[in-house]
């Protein structure tokens, strides 16, 4: 029996550089746990969304391949090293190319991927290479979150128009961010059959966050 349904691929790009060590990385882990438990209670999300995690520090790699929500295993996260954001975008482009199904005359492809990027610093590698790699894949929906005072929102604006700023890198704010991500995934899995192809409507960002104009 064919398993070809239209999935909503969701990629989490998480900064695991040295500055995330301690409370922030623990908060990210808790955030993913909460995100999963929230999404597993929503039948629409369970039937449509798939999740992948890409982490970056001195290098970038996909630690969780795009996986059925019900089978998704929380990844092991450790913080340390630099901020290879450019590399993360290149890995993302590769993953989308390999994992996201495109449409053919006989098969409806997956929905456009939803990408959430969380970083607390400035890239230490060549960001333009990553942006160039992403140009060749279909990703209309990237939401970047600049976490804390050291994050560079101008850099993130080069990647996407959807940039959020989290003023403090606290456990509470990170938890709020992940709650917002799960709300966004739910909203997207609900609206896909209403307005496919159009820009997604995300819920308003949580308190303490600002949308970077």
């Amino acid at each position: 029996m064919s398993d070809y349904i239209r999935r909503l691929p969701v990629y989490l790009l998480l900064d695991c550089s040295g500055s995330m060590a301690g409370e922030p990385i623990e908060a990210v882990k808790q955030g993913i746990k909460a995100l999963l438990s929230e999404l597993k209670g929503d039948p629409q999300a369970l039937e449509t969304a798939c999740l992948s995690v890409i982490t970056f520090n001195s290098t970038a790699r996909q630690i969780s391949p795009l996986t059925e929500l019900m089978l998704f295993k929380e990844p092991e996260l450790t913080a340390g090293g630099a901020t290879a954001l450019g590399g993360a975008l290149t890995v993302l482009a590769d993953c989308i190319r390999n994992e996201v199904r495109t449409s053919t005359p006989t098969q409806k492809g997956d929905w456009k991927p939803l990408v959430f990027l969380l970083t607390d610093g400035a890239p230490t590698d060549n960001l333009d290479d990553g942006i160039e790699a992403l140009r060749h894949v279909s990703t209309s929906n990237i939401i970047a979150c600049a976490a804390g005072a050291n994050a560079n929102t101008n850099t993130l604006r080069k990647i996407t128009n959807n940039v959020l700023m989290m003023n403090n890198l606290t456990a509470g704010d990170l938890a709020a961010f992940f709650a917002w991500v799960s709300g966004s995934i739910k909203a997207s899995s609900k609206s896909i059959d209403a307005k496919p192809g159009e820009a997604i409507q995300l819920p308003p960002p949580p308190q303490g966050f600002a949308i970077v104009p």
Binding site: M1, S2, D3, Y4, I5, R6, R7, K40, G41, D42, P43, Q44, L46, E47, T48, T59, R61, Q62, I63, P65, L66, T67, E68, M70, L71, F72, K73, V91, C95, N98, E99, R101, S103, P105, T106, Q107, K108, G109, W111, K112, K190, S191, D193, A194, K195, P196, G197, E198
Partner: protein
Amino acid sequence: MDRDENMLPGIDPEGLHKVTQPVHAELSGSVPVNSPEAEQADGEAVRQPAEEAPAAEPEKPAEPRMSDREVMQHTASMWRYRTIAEDGTELHTECHCKYTRTEAGDIIGARVRGKKHKHEGTNCDDWFETAEADGCLIAVVADGAGSKQLSRIGARVSCEGAVEYLSAALPEMFSKDETLREKLSGDISGDVFLGACGQFAAVMRTAAEKAFDAVIQKLKSLYSDEHYISTLGRNPTLADMGSTFLAAVAIPLTINGERQRFVITLQIGDGCICAIDSSESHDKCFRLLGEADSGAFSGETEFLSERMVSEGMIARKIRISRGRSDILMLMSDGVADDYFPAQPMMKRLLLDLRLNGILPVGGDTSEKREPAPLKFPSVTPEQRPVAIQYAKQLMKDGSPEAINALWDDRDTLAPYSLEAWGSSLGNTPEQRLQCWLDNYNERGSFDDRTLVVMNFDNK
């Protein structure tokens, strides 16, 4: 995490604790399959972690997969049923079904509120109307734009407007020209036939205009209404009423002693209109009688609008055909998407209608044969288990070849049918159609569903 010895490799027990039925993982790649029930994955290869993965990770099992059915067994009972809150605007009834018996055949139609709308307590946006007028069979289906709050009203009044017009205009054409049926029965390349085609194309175009007029009149009547202003935060506009528009008129004819139909259709927006000759083999039986959007799959859906009913646009969307096809179907995308692509999947739809007693299955149902129909809980307060049979279950896979093989074997379906298994979806064909639409399960399918079937008798 320690893995339970009894689990299949690569499955996280935590991820499965809520699964109501035992899960059989579908493994891919070179991982040994240690369960007789595990199947080779039929999808793409599972992506392995990047090459630069540090050697520190002790093991990297292949990613497990779940079948769509396993996911649905888990989600089926999670769907909530919420009634629609009164807000002073015109609400849609939950569902509707209708049966019309004519001399030439039956029209069976039904629509149901989708799981998503039930879960959220919002209206069904689909509508359909059917009628018979002077021997002509008429059906119109409309699907209100999901993102527009009043689209259900646009869908309803456009169906009503078109059917009202057609019910008057068609008899008038036949009374004005007593030779019209003869003309429609004539040489298909002759001027007389083509002239008659032009007349009917004009009537179909006017039907679309009348449908659009009905939407405008309705909008005028709602303007300044406090309930609508409070619901929308402003006065309603035409865009709030947007809906698709699928119409078909079938005129039964007798040509050289053989029963045929002259069929004229119009499709604006997504959904599907098609004809099937159920006596034909898989390669000759199917005809698509409309096209959804022109562009990419995820493109915006077209809606009934002033631009769409203009002469140039509509001429491209009207289809005329004549032949022996005994099944004519119109449906909203809530059904069409579950049977995509139409060729060959609409054959599977027709087989599903037979297996579930909506159309006669034919043959001997006194003995039953495995696989048994599948039971999922209904999305109602009672969560009553409803047995449905799926043609999919009778095929080795979902490939076009498998569907075509089953189609050519369709006279042997009876032992798999609901009837053979001793259950029924309702007392009448239209109730069974409604119950089937309301309860068949496809993963990721939770839109409103509407299907109208014209079933003609060729004997």
